[in-house]
Subunit: 452 residues, 2 copies
């Protein structure tokens, strides 16, 4: 954000604190606080302490992690509890989790200051695994009973909205007296009915048959549903079909960004969660683990080179050229690997069309292998004035790019098949293949054809 | 999807074609057709021809590109035009674009079969650049005038919905007689007012001040707005504030996935748009360009090695160990590069805190440089029974990992600063640095310290 925009927001924040009615989004307040923290740390804490509890929780959630932790430590358990009570249940749960990560004692004190009913709700939501739909749902929904009239439900909506209990309502969830979800009616339809009509009359229409997910469903499936059905919100039910809550598109957008980040990081051997930490030692340690695995594979490649040390001593051009073969294999393999990993994640490749993908990727790599065999063969021939050396590097190039394409596609497919994340560890496995095959093919062919 | 699910959908499709009222999403029909295409190509065309025009367009859009092209070629201009008329304007535009990519003559014939009013609308939408918000908007909105009563607007909504002109309405957009957007009222609020109230009375409330984007805004900013403000839909206006349409969260979810795919692909030197093509020659050619650039940098690294060919000949252990130094630099640099590229994309790093990010990344790389200098120094010493060789590789490791961290962060920052995409080309620049620095430091130190 531009400095001038931030100063504009600052004026609005001042107006808000002075009690004026201002249209100001918590995320803008967070941007302003972030700017303040940088420019005037004292001002940051002063503003933080004065923020109305109605927006404090949302502002905290919008702050970058390090500032949020800092802010939480400067607030009392009571202030935090009040802020949490104002949040929707999903956001409240997120904030409690953040506090838990920071200080479990503080979390206990905060939870003890929250009304017991809401505390129970939050504890139930916290219990879900982060791979489950339940972890992303909010329990605040606009619910109506089959035997109710529309007018009565609307009256309840009015009350709940006035109490600040409900917002962002797009649909009414019609349930039976056991809370089992029977129908979902969009407000745009509801508004057209005579308000004296009971819901029972309306919901016989098949178009109101509910689309719902189970709280125990993997969140990946929920995301897929949003994408396939162009949803803005989805209802969440338990195993018996009882309404528990809903998941809204804003959480899905965040999740999609987060999963993409995780995938990009995994491909490069970086841990997404650790990277968010401020503690450099943790980040360094985590990255070092990955580098250690890479060191192992690099040494393996060196052992292959070591097999041919006499050949290299007689023919030092081999040492000069050998990294080219390995590097081209690594790059071609990474292209293939990346495409296959991403298409697996997007559901464009599955086990059904896996053979086709494998064949396609191998063929592309083979074609490029032939192209670069010709190019590099000629370069090596001219460079070292040695025709046979050109032939050797050309053959090694074809072999290594072929291996790169085949294993670049096969490795993620197999990881997926055995239930692993195809983005994790696949690139190190691939580099091992392209280094070992590259050096072995090039130096082996050289020993056989140049010195044999 | 499981085979059994697909067969279940197949039964529903049959029921639909038999004229029964079935709840069936176009994306499910598309999944079934995809399965059919694989199992029974004749059946695919038979079903395609019989699909009701109300869902044909949506089904086409949900098909994978190659099947869609195949399907479009089997439909007449008239059938396509009818399907397009049933689509919302944003989807209609997408489908026309798909037809255009395939066959411009067919596109003209299709457009000529569409009612002239809708044709004009589609042509206006097609004119937007794909980086602009306008390219993703639909013109179908629920609009009301300031001086209208709620009841009259609702009556219009009823008619538009009955005609299939409007769906997925969450808000009413209140405009003046010049179509300038004055307020946005969510249906959940509208439903609570007395329907005899004129909009003018309601919209004085500041909470209805509209959040809108301009059609010419970069789509990246629109995505940011959805994420910051947790939007489900946003209004689109022209430069004078006149209401043009809206963008819904389902398009934003698709865009976020697409941009992440593009970023992942760019980092690996793969072109997202070309990869969607069926034509293997195109894919091969595009990937070959990237490999050619890589070949250039690999040769550059080889030239560095060539400077030390006599040293290597005297000391062949150097040839065995040198790929380790380069590989560790490449991996550490890729970690840094990936984190910085992604954080730039997510807005977590900007020019303000760039210096801090650069410092942090360099420090992490230096720490890991020291760790792996020790590990690799001892390994080399023991392996080749040569203490000095251990010192040489240790020093080279520190130097190369330091360079990896520094340039891994600096390269994307500079690309961003000069207005380039930090994901494009950064990895090849980085590898050039880590290869050249790695070989030069290791072989140069070796010549100086071992043979000097």
């Amino acid at each position: 954000m531009e400095r001038s925009e931030l100063i504009e927001i600052g004026k609005k924040v001042d107006a808000l604190l002075a009690g004026e009615e201002v249209k100001l989004h918590p995320s803008d307040v967070a941007s302003y606080l972030k700017y303040l923290h940088h420019e005037d740390a004292e001002g940051f804490y002063r503003y933080l302490k004065r923020l109305p509890k109605e927006i404090l929780g949302e502002v905290l959630l919008e702050l970058p992690e390090s500032l949020r932790d800092d802010a939480i430590e400067h607030l009392s358990a009571k202030e935090l509890a009040e802020a949490i009570e104002e949040l929707d249940s999903d956001d409240a749960t997120d904030l409690v989790k953040e506090i838990e990560d920071l200080d479990e004692g503080l979390e206990r004190r905060v939870l003890d200051s929250i009304s017991s009913e809401y505390k129970e709700e939050i504890e139930e939501l916290i219990a879900y695994d982060e791979d489950q739909a339940g972890a992303y749902m909010q329990t605040e929904v606009f619910k109506a009973y089959e035997d109710e009239r529309i007018a009565d439900a609307i009256e309840r909506l009015r009350r709940l909205k006035a109490e600040g209990e409900l917002s962002n309502i797009h649909q009414v969830y019609v349930v039976d007296r056991e809370d089992r979800l029977k129908a979902i009616i969009p407000l745009e339809d509801l508004i057209l009915y005579d308000f004296q009509t009971p819901f029972a009359t309306i919901i016989s229409n098949r178009r109101y048959e509910p689309i719902a997910v189970k709280a125990s469903d993997p969140i990946g499936e929920v995301i897929k549903k949003f994408e396939d059905y162009d949803l803005a919100v989805v209802a969440v039910v338990d195993e018996e079909g009882r309404l528990l809550g809903r998941i809204t598109s804003d959480d899905i957008i965040d999740l999609v960004e987060e999963q993409a980040t995780e995938q990009i990081y995994n491909l490069a051997g970086v841990d997404e969660e650790i990277e968010e930490e401020e503690d450099l030692t943790e980040v360094t340690k985590k990255r070092a683990w990955w580098l250690l695995i890479n060191l192992g594979t690099a040494i393996l490649a060196s052992l292959v080179i070591g097999l041919f040390d006499e050949t290299i001593q007689k023919y030092v051009a081999l040492a000069v050229l050998m990294p080219i073969v390995a590097s081209m294999g690594g790059n071609a393999g990474t292209q293939t690997l990346t495409v296959v990993v991403r298409k697996l994640a997007l559901g464009e490749i599955d086990w059904q069309n896996a053979k086709r993908a494998l064949f396609k990727e191998t063929l592309i790599a083979l074609l490029n292998g032939i192209i670069f065999a010709l190019i590099m063969g000629i370069i090596a021939w001219v460079w070292f004035q040695d025709q046979m050396l050109g032939v050797v590097i050309a053959l090694a190039m074809v072999i290594n790019l072929l291996a790169a394409g085949f294993f670049g596609a096969l490795i993620p497919l197999i990881l997926k098949k055995i239930g692993s994340d195809p983005a994790v560890g696949s690139s190190v496995l691939l580099t091992t293949v392209t280094d070992v095959v590259g050096f072995f093919a090039f130096l082996g062919l050289a020993r056989w054809m140049l010195l044999g």
